[in-house]
């Protein structure tokens, strides 16, 4: 059940040494299993054996964060280019969902969602990805659609070899891209330092043997974690992460990105008290600074050059503890707070005339402090009852005079902060008996309105071709959620089914205002964020992992979401039914993995945003690995063909009728020491 409910996907190298694992096996099989992800699981980064589940999610050693996310049954990706895809959880996206990095709040600096926080993180920075859809989704912040928490990998102490690591490099023919990853760990008895570095460079890829322009990118990513053991049971940990992307094409947008930079840093203290009532106590302070610059200089038909830089700075802290109240109750308490300042500018340069300037994000400060409580009550050996909730005090304010006066043109009064109390509450019960398990969760959640929705100023949306104006008077979106899970698990087979239904109120969307004149040359019109009384998102996910034959394992998941608005019209950007399957054969030094992704057509489209239907497609990938030992170290050769039959296709969540990559041959080499 945890499979669909609260998944921790092991990343990094090899990860777990189990043969046939489900991700949840990192935690003990007690009924209060959900908190297993919050424990510090020390993973020896040594490949031993084969981990089919890991390879299902992270099919190559140089997979990107988005590649991994796309394999999660509940996650789809909005694609504007060949870079920085935006996660969607069960039809929810952007500020409807929570995205955190080890509990760190990060907000992209691009008004057009070209840099979701996940784009600044590499799998080699990570230990795991935690997805929460109902229970526990509000742990890291208020949201109505679920949360993704990317857990940073940590330095390991007291390792067998003082210095260990991994280097991997791969090359893809179709896009002439190179991907290189270096991971190093220095583990002394009381001190450890872990380094990961990633360099990626990609040219334009081919589809139908034609080059698809503006699909290139380059990026460099570094992360360092240093960990110091203060005493037998307490640790001090410092994370520094730098991610620089440049020359990034966004084929589906009218502009590219010249530079996307993130600096993320955190200092945390964690103690496992000797007093057994406290499982752990952790506190962290963090900050991150993001600068994002769009670039239209390479586009041939730009009517007028413009600069569109954006800044997002976030500082925050949290404290978290888990207390065993008695033999039946485990209470988790988390208090957190952050403050985020965003500014985005647009300067246009007409020929022979004065430059034109405006703030597209008018210096908006969002500050939130919150309290999250979770209690797991072990009713008996079969039933667990879970209750959790979050209360957030959230304030949004325009901090500059120019930002305030700018909104006067819409007669908005924004001198005072917009203050909201956001409430999230969720209750559920889990039943487990023998190989069978099931759960039901019911929740109510509210989310903060985004800067775009409140204060966005003529933000061009390339999806429907409208300029969008914020509306500081909108209500906060809220949702009633219900989720049913059932599963059956034996040593060889793991089947899970999740059904969900979200009834959303104050559903926020842009409404066309014909009386407003467009800012963007060629735009279809101007939309102002407004709300419809309700919308609905429902669907299911099925997961299957089974050993077909000795050495042969099938892992598969299916997903389906249906979105409807007030009048039963389809919501935009809803993924159709999709089936992702992988069959993996592994024997001694050799492994072979065949993958299939099959998506049905999406004909339920939103006419309000001029959405187009998308035909069905099916894809095949084939990957092989040969690994052998060189002294104590391991050398691994990888080769693969992606999109084996050179299918010309696009996914429904891809913007702008841009085809996905055609057949691609990739080769890789990795060395583990």
């Amino acid at each position: 059940m945890e499979f669909s409910k609260f998944i921790a996907i092991g990343l990094g190298l090899g990860l777990l040494a189990f043969g046939n694992v489900s991700a949840q096996e990192c935690c003990p099989t007690d009924s209060i299993y959900k908190h297993c992800n919050l424990q510090e699981v020390v993973i020896t980064e040594k490949v031993s054996g084969d981990n089919a589940l890991l390879k299902f999610y992270k099919s190559t050693k140089t997979s990107s964060t988005e590649d991994v996310l796309s394999r999660l049954a509940a996650v789809n990706l909005i694609r504007r280019g060949n870079y920085a895809m935006e996660p969607v959880i069960r039809g929810f996206s952007a500020s409807q969902i929570g995205l955190t990095l080890d509990g760190i709040k990060i907000f992209g600096a691009c008004t057009d969602h070209m840099d979701p926080p996940t784009s600044y993180v590499e799998p080699s920075n990570l230990k795991s990805i935690q997805l929460a859809t109902s229970a526990g989704a509000s742990k890291f912040g208020s949201n109505i659609g679920g949360s993704l928490n990317l857990q940073l990998a940590q330095a390991q102490l007291g390792t067998e070899k003082t210095v260990s690591g991994m280097f991997t490099s791969s090359y893809s023919l179709a896009s002439q891209s190179t991907n290189n990853v270096l991971e190093l760990n220095y583990g002394a008895k009381r001190f450890g330092i872990r380094f990961s570095g990633v360099y990626r460079k990609s040219g334009n890829y081919l589809a139908n043997r034609q080059e698809v322009p503006f699909t290139q990118y380059q990026k460099l990513n570094f992360s360092v974690n240093s960990k110091y053991m203060l005493s037998d049971n307490s640790f001090l940990s410092l994370d520094v992460l730098a991610d620089d992307g440049w020359n990034i094409g966004y084929a589906a947008l009218p502009m590219d990105v010249s530079s996307a930079k993130a600096r993320i840093y955190a200092l945390s203290y964690k103690v496992f008290p000797k007093n057994k009532a406290f499982t752990y106590f952790e506190t962290k302070v963090y900050g991150n600074n993001i600068i994002h610059s769009m670039d239209d200089t390479k586009r041939p038909l730009t009517p007028m050059h413009m600069d569109m830089p954006g800044w997002s700075d976030t500082y925050g802290a949290y404290t978290e503890t888990a207390i065993t109240l008695n033999s039946k109750n485990l209470l988790t308490i988390r208090t957190d707070g952050y403050t985020n300042l965003t500014r985005a500018e647009m300067t246009m340069y007409p020929q022979n005339s004065a430059p034109m300037f405006m703030l597209t994000w008018p210096d908006v400060r969002n500050t939130t402090i919150g309290l999250y409580l979770n209690n797991d009550y072990l009713l008996n050996k079969k039933f667990t009852i879970n209750l959790n909730g979050r209360l957030d005090y959230s304030s949004s304010k325009i901090t500059s005079e120019i930002g305030r006066t700018q909104l006067e043109v819409f007669n908005y009064k924004v001198d005072n902060a917009r203050i909201k109390l956001l409430k999230n509450i969720n209750g559920g019960t889990t039943y487990k008996s023998g190989n069978f398990h099931s759960s039901i969760n019911i929740g109510y959640s509210e989310r903060p309105s985004s800067t775009n929705e409140l204060y966005g100023f003529y933000l061009f949306n390339a999806y429907d071709g409208y300029d969008y104006i914020g509306n500081p008077n909108i209500k906060d979106e809220r949702s009633f959620n219900m989720e049913l899970n059932a599963g059956y698990k034996t040593k060889f087979t793991d089947i899970t089914v999740a059904l969900f239904n979200n009834e959303i109120q104050n559903y926020t969307l842009g409404k066309y205002h014909p009386e407003l004149s467009v800012m963007t040359i060629g735009a279809n019109g101007v939309k102002v964020y407004e709300q419809i009384a309700h919308a609905n998102l429902k669907g299911f996910e099925i997961g299957l992992s089974t050993v077909l034959l000795k050495n042969l394992q099938l892992i598969s998941n299916a997903r389906y979401t249906k979105g409807t608005d007030n009048d039963n019209n389809p919501l935009p950007l809803i993924s159709p039914f999709k089936l992702t399957s992988s069959v993996r054969y592994a024997k001694s030094k050799f492994s072979l993995q065949a993958e299939n992704i099959w998506a049905t057509a999406q004909n339920k489209v939103s006419t309000m945003v001029n959405e187009k239907t998308t035909p069905a497609y099916t894809l095949f990938n084939l990957r092989g690995t040969y690994a052998f030992k060189v002294k104590q170290n391991k050398l691994e050769l990888n080769a693969g063909v992606e999109n084996l039959f050179d299918t010309y296709y696009q996914d429904h969540l891809d913007w702008g009728n841009i085809p996905r990559p055609g057949r691609n041959v990739m080769m890789g080499l990795s060395y583990v020491f």
């Binding site: 004065a354 300037f357 405006m358 043109v409």
Partner: protein, 270 residues
């Protein structure tokens, strides 16, 4: 405790000072203003000065008049003024002719800090062939002629418009030194030309305003059309969604609904 009180008192003293200063009349009434003209009235031992918010430009200019004792340089608080702007033009052939321009007479009731406000709408700049002077009458008996220099305004601030029956109107945009992205005050002064020396404020027009950004081809929402307030003044709000070059189009109609002028607009760049 005693010390605390002492420090509190010390801390408060500067604030007392600053508030005192504010309530008194500023020692220099012409601070932040520019002297644009000066003349002596010797038989009254008086220096007459004209001040303005900025260098004089074609269009509407707010003026401030002050009379000083020539010996002590002290302001004469009981002085009254009457003004009349005059332009002398040298025509080809050496003939000269003079005309006036719309103006707002010095208003003694509005005197502040010994400065008496007035205004003039200069219809052309000072040039080789024409110069402006201001006739100022002090206390209804002493007259001075003060030469002044008028520059061509960098922003368009003046529209000369006429109707089919050859009635001429002068539409002046009151200067706004600090246009901003957002809602901006937009004030017009409209005068009717009776003859070269006589202009009267027009109080019964309607004005429709549509700003546009010619480089982009877009406008802005929620503008407030200028409506009549007093003395030929019309006040409204113009909304600029971004900085840069704006063209504020005006449709000015007389009481009968006839449009005054063709293609009337002001260009504003900020």
């Amino acid at each position: 405790m005693k010390n605390l009180t002492k420090y509190l008192v010390i801390a408060i003293i500067p604030f007392l000072f600053t508030s005192c200063e504010k309530s008194e009349e500023s020692p220099n009434p012409t601070i932040n203003k520019i002297k644009v003209g000066e003349a002596m009235i010797t038989d009254a031992n008086t220096k007459l000065q004209i001040w303005a918010d900025a260098d004089l430009n074609t269009g509407y200019n707010k003026l401030y008049l002050i009379a000083l004792d020539a010996t002590t340089n002290e302001p004469k608080s009981d002085a009254t003024f009457a003004i009349k702007p005059m332009m002398t033009m040298t025509m080809t052939g050496g003939m000269t002719m003079t005309h006036s321009s719309p103006f707002e007479q010095a208003d003694a009731a509005a005197k502040k800090n010994n400065l008496t406000p007035a205004a003039a709408v200069f219809t052309m700049p000072t040039s080789d062939s024409g110069f402006w002077k201001m006739e100022v009458t002090l206390n209804n008996n002493k007259k001075a002629i003060i030469p002044i220099k008028v520059e061509e305004s960098k922003q368009s601030r003046l529209i000369m418009a006429s109707t089919a029956d050859k009635t001429n109107y002068i539409v002046a945009l009151l200067p706004n030194p600090a246009y901003k992205i957002g809602a901006n005050d937009f004030e017009l002064q409209i005068s009717r030309k009776i003859d070269a020396n006589t202009y009267t404020p027009v109080n019964d027009f309607t004005v429709e305003m549509t700003p546009e950004m010619p480089d982009m081809g877009h406008g802005s929402p929620n503008n407030v059309n200028p409506t009549f307030v007093a003395n030929g003044h019309y006040k409204g709000k113009v909304n600029f969604t971004m900085s840069g070059y704006w063209k504020v189009n005006l449709k000015i109609k007389d009481a009968s609904g006839t449009t005054i002028g063709e293609d009337t607009f002001f260009k504003i760049t900020f």
